[in-house]
Amino acid sequence: MSLRERLGKEWLFCDGGTGSILQKMGLKGGELPETWNLTRPDDIKALNKGYFEAGSNIVNTNTFGANRFKFDNVSEIVSAAVRICQQARKEAGREDDAYVAIDIGPTGKLLEPMGDLPFNEAVDIFAEMIKAGYEAGGDLVLIETMSDSYEAKAAVVAAKETCNLPVIVTMVYDESGKLLTGGGVEGTVAMLEGLKVDAIGINCGFGPAQMLPIAKRLVECSSLPIVVNPNAGLPRTENGETVYDVDPEEFAEIMEQIARLGVHVMGGCCGTTPGHIKAMKDRVKNVPFVTPDAKNTTYVTSFADCVKIGPRPVIIGERINPTGKKKLQQALRDNNTDYILTEALKQEEAGAHILDVNVGLPEIDEPSMMEDVILKIQSVTNLPLQIDTTNIEALERGMRIYNGKPMINSVNGKIENIEAVMPLVAKYGGVLVGLPLDESGIPETSDGRIAIAKRIYEAADKYNIPRKDIVIDGLAMTISSDPNSAIATLDTVRRVRDEFSGHSILGVSNISFGLPARELVNSHFLTMAMQNGLSCAIINPCNGPMMASFRSFNALMNLDPNLEEYISAYKDYVAGTAASTGSSKASSASSSAVLTLGEAIERGVTGRAAEAMKEALDSGRESLEIIDAELIPALDRVGKGYEAGTVFLPQLLMSADAAKAAFAVVKEAMSDKPRNIKGRVILATVKGDIHDIGKNIVKVMLENYGYDVIDLGKDVPPEVIVDCAIENNIRVVGLSALMTTTVASMEETIKLLREKKPDTLVVVGGAVMTPEYSEKIGADAYAKDAMATVRYCDSVFEA
């Protein structure tokens, strides 16, 4: 029988520890265990055979770390390991009922955006290992000891794209059920179920006793077979060596308790031996086996957050969508991701649970932009995202690099659309929004919409996408053109709940298009929709009345325990101020209300600086005149004080922030007029360096002094900097490096610039830089801080 036919139907047993046994055989510290596949195959065979003979059904090949970071002969090492394991199985007489697992461990590198390994490179690395194992005849892929769900995703994607073998994934959780990267049990399970692995579980980290509560949580939330592979207790050090104390009998006793929770595959990890496995199997095989049952909870997740859909309505922030938003359109064209990130953070602060991300504009490369924006948003917020696009390539690339289980907006009832979108959801996993419209358009009645919704559910069945992961859009359309439209939409929402036990979603504000005072209609419509069972509301969470409607509904429907959220949002509410956002943040303190623009900037009072600028503009003064007469002189005073040592860095930064806020007001007021810029400058932290605070400070200062900054970010390869300089014909490039080790890539960048674009001037800075060093690597100037960079640029551009 195949492993897939047996998983979840009967007790199966994994193997135990490898490292501790190999060390007893003489493996030296620092020696890579996988080299033994070639140098000492008989020892590895003895290791594997010991487990087959102890009764393991699933035995790992000795390939845990056999990746290209450690070996240049990955394929040889892995295929040797598979052959050894097969031979061991044969010699143990277990060819009928035991399986050779291609063992895959973590790469030892952290993925972008937190680390420096690109997601798709991680997929390649795993695919190389898996391909070799598959071609050598491995029976399944066992991805284990993963402490980062994103890396686990890369390994699963690699397995799915390389072969059709069963895939098992076990993660390392800590005692509170968290991954080292912050994710929890439920979110990780949701992501892996979406990726359609065959079994999931936990291994390593600690012993069976500590693992018991986590095994329980897995049983409660997983619809898949569950694997539990603990260590032989907690490790401790004895004379520089790691030892584990739980003996086979004790191990077997606790494993029996875990078996009774209803898990399905059991084995061991560090410190366990064939003796542990045999003792465990003898006790566990008599425990009644419970088949896994399908759980009906829907989760949308990020790497660290897990949002449950229903019964409490979920708020999806709509602000990252260029439709009708001129400033966002401009930001997308200028590749100004800071603007997009600011929108993301604002919506999070206002109370959004999920953020919609739509970057569709005719003149931009949407697939690349989608990938880039998702990575960047996920580096500043834990909120899960809703990938919103009609571009199938953008959808796939977004889903692929997304860290977690995203929401997908959307599929509709057209056959062609279903055939394009559903295979992607089946592959990567996601909660899919279904629009009940088809080739003949949008049905006017709920009958028509429900009929299409039914077809969408049926199509999901065909693609093996669970119905709980479908969310039907009630299709809100303006009542100003069809007086019945709200009624049809509300009916659809209610019937999705009642007839399919399904989830629903609405782009709420569409209901009032073309009307005055839209938030009045919108907020009441939102309440009505929630009363009819709405699961997800796509709204602007920064709009006070909408959030008031949401919070009031939860308070009234017993969905806000102890009314905590309601009270915390409105404890300072002043009756009659309908625009109150419910945010507890007080506006600028009254003591600062009398400051002039210059004073506000000097003292770094951001809110007041923006206000004072607005007052000045409202009084009819020209923006340029205000900038020249008040803003720049104030900045200069702070800058000179900083240079003289009487003002310290934090104060300089606060003034810069305040000036930036004042500039934002000016920009807003003259958004249709061309800006007056002194020059364009590229800033980058060089390849290998991930420190960017200093560079960011320089950026803010340069912008305040009238420069247009192209910020290439951190860890930027020389070619990217050079290409950008050529493309934009840049005169000044600013490079930052914080570490002695990364100054080399600064030098390399300068060399390449000299070669490809010799008229560029390079100014360098960073903690390890000195004037001598900068001269040595061929830079044109050394800037000791942000002010010095401004002065240098002024000297170039004002000359």
């Binding site: 060390q23 003489g26 493996l27 030296k28 510290g29 620092g30 973590p106 030892g108 590198k109 952290l110 937190m114 680390g115 420096d116 000891t145 402490s147 390392v172 509170s176 968290k178 080292l180 990267t181 912050g182 390593c204 004379n239 520089g240 060596e241 790691t242 800071d338 990130l341 600011t342 953070l345 580096s379 500043v380 917020t381 834990n382 303190a589 003292r603 770094g604 009072v605 951001t606 310290f648 860095l649 934090p650 104060q651 930064l653 606060m654 810069a656 922030d657 290998g688 360096d689 991930i690 420190h691 960017d692 605070i693 960011n696 400070i697 570490m739 002695t740 080790t741 990364t742 000195t770």
Partner: protein, 227 residues
Amino acid sequence: MPLGVEIPLKEVKRYMGYHGIADISSDTEERIRKAVDQVSSQSHPRIVSKEYPVTVSDDEIVIHAGNEELVLHSTALARNLKDCCGAVLLAATIGPACDMLVRRAGVTSAADASIYQAAGAAAIESFLDDYNDRLKAEYEAQGLFLRPRFSPGYGDLDLGHQKDWFRLLDISKQIGIELTDSLLMVPTKSVTAIIGVGISENRTACTGCAGCNRHATCEFSKGSNET
């Protein structure tokens, strides 16, 4: 699990670049305090350590780690570990939350980003100091004395030894720090170090700022009363 130890505001201000002045506005004080609270409550500190026997000569340290002998060439470390028979290798991190706070602030406010940055630096140091104090007491109860912490990259100890620390302590798996190609740690608020264990106190081992190879140009030591 929050940080569990107090982050001294004085240290945060020092990392921010305030050199021994008291004139900080109450608004700024408040901002710093808030950031420190956030860093403290969102941190998830973890530490992994192992003690090994060591042999120390004038410019070479051999760490006897089970089946492996790790050789470190460094006169500065050899001076620090003079007369030691053992050493504790350790790695510690306050987790990824502080990095996220810095990145978020980076979008909206350079000042806040620098405050979080400083708070994180002070947090990992005070977490380690606290651990160090407890370790010291434990060893002193056995009649043993600890040397000051020393990290790969200090003095003439090659930063490349980060890889040895990661291998010996299995740092990635145990506490979730990863090494980039350029040997930087992520989460960034992380530390690797070695602490010597000797049967006598070695007062010359503690050189403080004066023993640092960046002493002449360091921005942070000015005005501080560190010895």
